[in-house]
Subunit: 337 residues, 2 copies
């Protein structure tokens, strides 16, 4: 198989930078890296595998020599540029929400539904961060016990809202500790030392867009029969989302088997040792690739109930890493010319 030409659109953003670092460490044979970004960043350089690559402005004509164009530049940029990239011959892996629910566009977590990649027509969508980590943990359990219903409450990091949100949490925390007033720009309320039960905009029925993404994307990726009841909450954590997940299965289970299934599931690492106070923690997941699962315990309030605590780095498995793994899986499946 030939060496790949890979473009990264939004190369200088928070996720774009993660993308390039993950591509660098991947086993992909990359002979050309094309970092693309907005005009004002053109001319800057990036070091990748011991070579210097110059950032170009993204736009028409930039994808004619590209195998994979990994997009991380927001929904508006993807809407315009992804079809152009496809028409110029690239396979687009898109990190934005633009194409996720479009019929005919595969929405893929490689550990969960790699087979969906076969039907692609040029664009593959990368799911929402909260959904990815939940489904990596749920897939082996669904295969074994047939999940009926999920009640999930999230504890999400500010890095999901980009670099400005990280600065806002830092700035507000410093101001609050110095007893100065806090400025709110990214979030509608103070996030420092607070919990905000709103992520993204409100939709009909009182749910937020983030919450409904978890419902709809679970249906598209894993199984449309699974009922999902989500509450998405932003907390003052810089990186890694945590999720309190309550499951109801149609089939009965043994707790030992759940531990065994999760321990050998691809992408999952079990951290569950209450005697030594070990469980997944946001600050320990930062910079790592796994989806960490712990607090695994039977829910005695219903038949076939289970509680889990699931943590993963929202910028890696929740975004950049999953996109790179999609490219790797497509190469492995022989889907790249």
């Amino acid at each position: 198989m030939k060496a790949l030409h890979v473009a990264v659109v939004g190369a200088l953003g928070a996720v774009g930078q993660q993308m390039i670092s993950i591509l660098e460490a991947s086993a992909l044979d990359i002979s050309l890296l094309k970092p693309l970004d907005i005009a004002e960043n053109a001319g800057k350089t990036i070091l990748f595998r011991d070579k210097t690559w110059t950032v170009e402005e993204s736009g028409k004509g930039k994808f004619t020599d590209i195998d994979f164009a990994i997009f991380s530049a927001g929904a508006d940029a993807s809407k315009i540029l992804a079809p152009i990239a496809v028409s110029e011959g690239a396979i687009v892996i898109d990190n934005s929400s633009q194409w996720r629910m479009t019929e005919g566009i595969p929405l893929v977590v490689p550990e969960v539904n790699p087979q969906a990649l076969k039907d692609h027509k040029g664009i593959i969508a990368n799911p929402n961060c909260s959904t990815i980590q939940m489904l990596v943990a749920l897939k082996p359990l669904h295969d074994a016990y047939d999940i009926k219903r999920v009640v999930v409450s999230t504890y999400q990091a500010v890095s999901g809202s980009g670099a400005k949100a990280i600065e806002e949490l830092k700035g507000q925390s410093k101001a609050y500790l110095a007893k100065e007033s806090c400025e709110c720009n990214v979030y509608p309320h103070q996030i420092a030392f607070n919990a905000i039960p709103q992520i993204d905009v409100f939709l009909e029925g009182g749910y937020t867009k983030e919450e409904m993404k978890m419902v709809h994307e679970t249906h598209k990726i894993l199984d449309p029969r699974i009922e999902v009841s989500p509450t998405a909450v932003r907390i003052p954590v810089f990186r890694s989302h945590s999720e309190s997940i309550n499951l109801e299965f149609n089939k009965s289970y043994e707790l030992d088997d759940v531990f065994a299934l999760l321990s050998k599931a691809p992408g999952v690492e079990v951290i569950d040792d209450p005697a030594h106070l070990k469980y997944p923690l946001a600050i320990e997941a930062e910079g790592k690739n796994s989806v960490y699962v712990g607090r695994i315990r039977r829910d005695n309030s219903i038949e076939n109930g289970l509680n889990l605590w699931v943590v993963s780095d929202n910028l890696r498995k929740g975004a950049a890493l999953n996109a790179v793994q999609i490219a790797e899986k497509m190469v492995e499946m022989g889907l790249v010319d």
Copy 2:
């Protein structure tokens, strides 16, 4: 009715100080305040309703002239001193976990089960903070629709662990922002910019003591038939606990009726206006007396499902305020000689 003599045991602690400030603002007619604490604090003074009161060491013989002894000095102190106070003629309202599950000792949230006060034998137990705010919100809904099951995930403030935990969060936050290493003394892991899925010690079955308190206290206070599946999580918030609560009712409901019931429920304030980004927030509940309920929305994943976001000041309604309200209710019910 005669003016009351009130002792506060643990008067100089975080909850004790809240207690005295709430007693000060209450309608109770108090002619004697007796602040009690450990020996090293004896001799310090407290200003209460324009008079100065001297802190005495708590112990035998201190309760002979007392009507109400409100205890906030931990389970060990309550175990020894509460029976002494009762034998000397005081009614004990105990904030610790020492007597909560003891048969024959009323465990009371005045808005939920005031009738239990009638059967007291000298000690009345104040429930756990996470349970109190949950049950104040659930009571009117249980009366109307018969709650079958509760799945609750908490977002708890550090002040529940006392003054040292507040200092730990401040110190760790400053150190982290200055890129210095964090010291952990109160919690087993860094709490600054993290989420710790453990509150109190682990028990059998993988649940923590805090989680099992929510199960057992709900059964004792509200209804033993209600199934509760809890996950208790500490987050970097100074004050006020937040709770993501999923309910399943036995009876069907109209969403408008839920809003109406909660809006007129004692102790509850509804904040639910997504169009203006209004919902309960920990930082806004601090120092207030209500249990705030918002994000009220139908859970379409089951029949008769409902999601709520419930926030309250853990040191006030979750501790000191509820204790004072128990005293007020006993006076109102004519249970004090």
